[in-house]
Amino acid sequence: MSRFNYSDKSMSTSSRVGRVLALLVVLQHASPSHAHPSFPSSLQSELSMPCTPACTICHKDNLGGFGTISEPFGKAMQADGLTFVEPSLGPALRKLEGAGTDSDEDGTGDVLELREGQDPNGALDLCGQAALAARYGCGARIAQSPSPRADLGGAATALLVALSLCVSHRRSARRRRLLRSHNG
């Protein structure tokens, strides 16, 4: 037996579900939808690099994440203002370039090395490393959607359709049970 008996005081299940439905709609439109910062591709775009660097250009491994910046270039970028968010990338790079920072002290500045596809942390060919990087999937590609809003809108629509079908099923199931109990 449930420890809470809502039968006398609660609104109907369908009304409750309807309010949840409305809340879902509000949530999906109230929360701003921002793309997660994608530093490797942003770095490539910012400096017109010949390839997308791996996360290990700054982080200890390709998982990235908070508190895992271990490479000299990454630490230099942090010192010049790089934070968790993508808009901090451009200003940090410009500051690094203006100061002529050379993390591996090989005589070539970090930003110039990146533009040439070289690793600012050492003597490695970044684009050669990129060829060794993990590639995922078996085959084929999916065309990109027009906008992030469309992504969320489509998924929210699917959710709402599923919700309405569930409500309809519960009503029909309840009607069948009542009919069976009435017919004895």
């Binding site: 039968s7 929360s31 701003p32 939808s33 997660h36 910062p37 993990a134 590639r135 995922y136 999916i142």
Partner: protein
């Protein structure tokens, strides 16, 4: 095999090949609960295979599992509602597909999860995104042979640790990709209590939970999100003993081959008394290069540990796991987890979770400082509330505080299709 059974098997297989793709097409219109909750131990369910198509839990429910889900998991607001029967569970599809009868041996389902994440950072604090869009299917050809798997969609940024490893399509950027987290052929024996499966499957290790970012799952690379591997899995289930062993052949949805991990993963769980279990896990994998940091160095990873589940009275369940971490490129480390779950009323759960991690100091950098989580312990704490407010739906709110990381609030709404 008996005479005449080969043509019969052929017809059954062809029928199955038609049914399985149709099952995936039907996924968005089906609605039955599917997830793995280790705190179900308090209802007397030691073996997850009673309710789930997979004996270690998660994903698809059996017909019995649907009944239990309806009667035990979600809040009931009208006591006059009688619990549905297993027959009604199969009749669910009839109002929508009257011309098509879903066979009893066909299980289909899905999971849609929306998340809103707040992080205490200087800017871009709030992010909303679809966390999971998956469909599942399992079709039994005879009583002893099953085909099944999952199909889903995901869109994650470059470098994300999530979803990538389960990709079928090859978009390496931040566009959409089709995923298959699991796909398998399964042979069942011992009246269905035991099974031998071949395909891409969840690793048998530790507590099977839905929180894939928990350190015990992420650091051992054994979550249900995308850490599955291709291989051969043996599952044995007895009254007070469960055993799972996987011979890992590697993740063939990851290239090049030098990054694929091969080895084994296994667990043994005993139930010395009703409502209490004790288990041990072991995992060893080797790859010619580490996919997380590809260099010329080979990479061997090990995780060995203990876990436990205990029902403390009617409302409380304690879950705990601790693992030793051994990695070629790090000194020995460890990870731990404890979760106290309180069901305030049926369907509403409160949880207090503590985490501990030291992945081991790196061997690759001379003189590198020891930091929290790498050479020094790192602590984390969660406060969670999860409400299965109506059948097929649940909402969840997590407040997460991890050392040296911004405070996070994660809200989720989840519908089980």
């Amino acid at each position: 095999m008996a005479k005449g059974s080969l043509p019969k098997l052929g017809r059954a297989l062809r029928s199955s090949l038609l049914r399985v793709p149709l099952a995936f097409c039907l996924v968005t219109f089906s609605a039955r609960r599917a997830n793995a909750y280790p705190w179900m131990i308090k209802h007397g369910y030691f073996a997850c295979g009673t309710c789930h198509s997979e004996s270690a839990g998660g994903e698809l429910l059996t017909a019995y599992g649907r009944v239990i889900s309806e009667s035990v998991l979600s809040s009931h607001f009208h006591e006059s509602d009688a619990a549905p029967t297993a027959r009604e569970g199969h009749e669910f599809f009839q109002p929508y597909f009257a011309a098509f009868r879903v066979p009893d041996a066909l299980l289909i389902g899905g999971s849609v999860r929306f998340a809103t994440l707040y992080r205490d950072t200087p800017s871009e604090r709030v992010r909303a995104f679809p966390m999971q869009l998956d469909g599942y299917g399992d079709d039994g050809v005879f009583a002893w042979l099953h085909f099944g798997g999952s199909l889903g969609l995901a869109k994650v940024p470059v470098g994300s640790p999530h979803a990538r490893a389960a990709q079928l399509t090859t978009n390496q950027g931040d566009g959409y990709n089709l995923l298959s987290r699991t796909h398998y052929i399964r042979y069942e024996f011992g009246d269905g209590a035991h099974s031998l499966s071949l395909g891409r499957l969840n690793l048998p290790f530790g507590l099977r939970m839905s929180e894939h970012v928990m350190w015990v799952r992420s650091e051992t690379a054994t979550d249900r999100e995308s850490d599955q591997q291709h291989g051969l899995v043996l599952d044995l289930n007895f009254d007070t003993l469960r055993f799972g062993f996987m011979a890992i052949a590697g993740n063939y949805q990851l290239n090049p081959d030098r990054l694929r991990k091969r080895g084994y993963s296994a667990y043994l769980e005993l139930s010395p008394s009703s409502g209490t279990t004790l288990g041990a896990s072991s995992l060893v994998t080797h790859a010619r290069a580490d996919a997380l940091a590809p260099t010329s160095l080979s990479d061997t990873r090990q995780a060995h540990g203990l876990f436990a589940r205990s029902s403390l009275g009617r409302e409380f369940v304690l879950l705990a796991e601790a693992d030793l971490l051994l990695h070629t490129q790090h000194e020995p480390g460890y990870v731990g987890f404890a979760d106290l779950d309180f069901e305030a009323f049926r369907g509403f759960h409160l949880g207090a979770i503590a985490e501990l991690l030291d992945a081991g100091h790196t061997k690759l950098e001379d003189g590198a400082a020891r930091v929290a989580g790498e050479g020094k312990p790192k602590f984390g704490a969660w406060l969670s509330a999860q409400w299965f407010f109506v059948s097929h739906f649940d909402v969840r709110l997590d407040a997460i505080r991890r050392q040296n990381e911004p405070f996070q609030l994660l809200g989720q709404i989840h519908v089980y299709l």
